[in-house]
């Protein structure tokens, strides 16, 4: 089993993601440069956070057209698990692998703070080991993290169980106060209909061991590994 962590110019959470996999779980993970045209030999792909291509034009817009992404898009359609975190989520929306878009935070502030998330769907490749309704604590760090989709798209995402994570308060309520950035329906993460592509604004890669303040993020990577093991079995 080998997991790819894609590096774009401006990625800055690539090491966090790699270490969560290698040091946190002891699985093999390698960096893949954005100019690579193939991800052959890998079983899953992580698109890390950061500011790919300087966030020029729109966050994730130019990364979506990078050589490696053409290969990732094909693999995702074929069922390979693809996990976009923060900037990675923005890239997945820009490529159309996930619906909607991430726009400027309502406050216009870059937000760097811990948040509470409620897991709304534990049937994805990244959440299968977690309990439905679990409350997880992870940090956010973004300026453009407000999830937007039109009413019809939102309805379809909600009805299809594609809303995977929602911003909530400590007791698990999706209140307006618990919504840090103005995301519609307090949405923090969504998946594609098949559940093999997940995008999430908060950082599991910054919350996978106790000394980071939370280890709740590790269960997403554990689920991914479990998914890959079950495919291989």
């Amino acid at each position: 089993m080998k997991i790819a962590v894609v590096r774009f110019p401006g990625s800055n959470c690539d090491q966090d993601c790699l270490r969560a996999l290698t040091d946190g779980l002891g699985v093999k993970a390698e960096y893949v440069w954005h100019k690579e045209t193939s991800i052959a030999g890998f079983d899953a792909v992580i698109l890390p956070g950061g500011f790919s291509y300087g966030d020029y034009l729109r966050c994730g817009a130019i990364a979506g057209f990078s050589p490696v992404m053409q290969s990732v898009i094909g693999a995702a359609h074929a069922g390979m698990p693809v996990f976009g975190i923060c900037n990675g989520f923005q890239i997945l929306c820009e490529t159309g692998l996930l619906r909607g878009a991430l726009i400027r935070n309502r406050s216009l502030l870059f937000l760097c703070q811990p948040v509470y998330l409620k897991l709304e769907n534990n049937h994805t490749a990244f959440t299968r080991l977690s309990e439905q309704g679990a409350i997880l604590r992870m940090p956010i760090a973004h300026g453009e993290g407000a999830y937007y989709a039109d009413d019809q798209t939102l309805k379809e995402l909600e009805e299809g169980g594609q809303v995977v994570f929602r911003y909530v308060n400590e007791t698990g309520q999706p209140t307006p106060e618990a919504n840090p950035n103005g995301s519609r329906n307090n949405i923090a993460g969504i998946c594609n209909p098949a559940g093999n592509v997940l995008g999430l604004m908060p950082h599991p890669d910054r919350s996978w061991e106790g000394r980071l303040g939370s280890e709740d993020g590790l269960q997403l990577f554990k689920s991914l590994v479990d998914t890959l093991l079950s495919v291989a079995a």
């Binding site: 034009l57 817009a61 057209f65 909607g100 878009a101 400027r104 406050s107 216009l108 937007y148 103005g182």
Partner: protein, 79 residues
């Protein structure tokens, strides 16, 4: 030739930049200010004329995200 692609947030998408600018305009003394929206202009120079269909495709795919933005092309020849 040179042309401009104007990209604006869609009407129904929250534009917090526009809201902030509106508030500042009001503070500076124009109390009758209404909605303000902030978009961008992308100026592109071509040797000769661009393929219009190709340009339109690039606007849709790259320069504008049609989930949240609309665009229009301003130029001497096109539209």
């Amino acid at each position: 030739m040179k042309l401009e692609v104007v990209v604006m947030p869609k009407r129904n998408v929250l534009d917090p930049q526009g809201v902030a600018v509106r508030n500042a305009v009001r503070e500076l003394g124009l109390s009758n200010v209404g909605t303000v929206r902030v978009g961008k202009i992308i100026e592109i120079e071509f040797t000769g004329e661009p393929d219009e269909a190709k340009l339109d495709e690039i606007c849709r795919d790259l320069l504008c995200n049609e989930v949240i933005e609309d665009y229009r092309i301003l130029g001497a020849v096109l539209k």
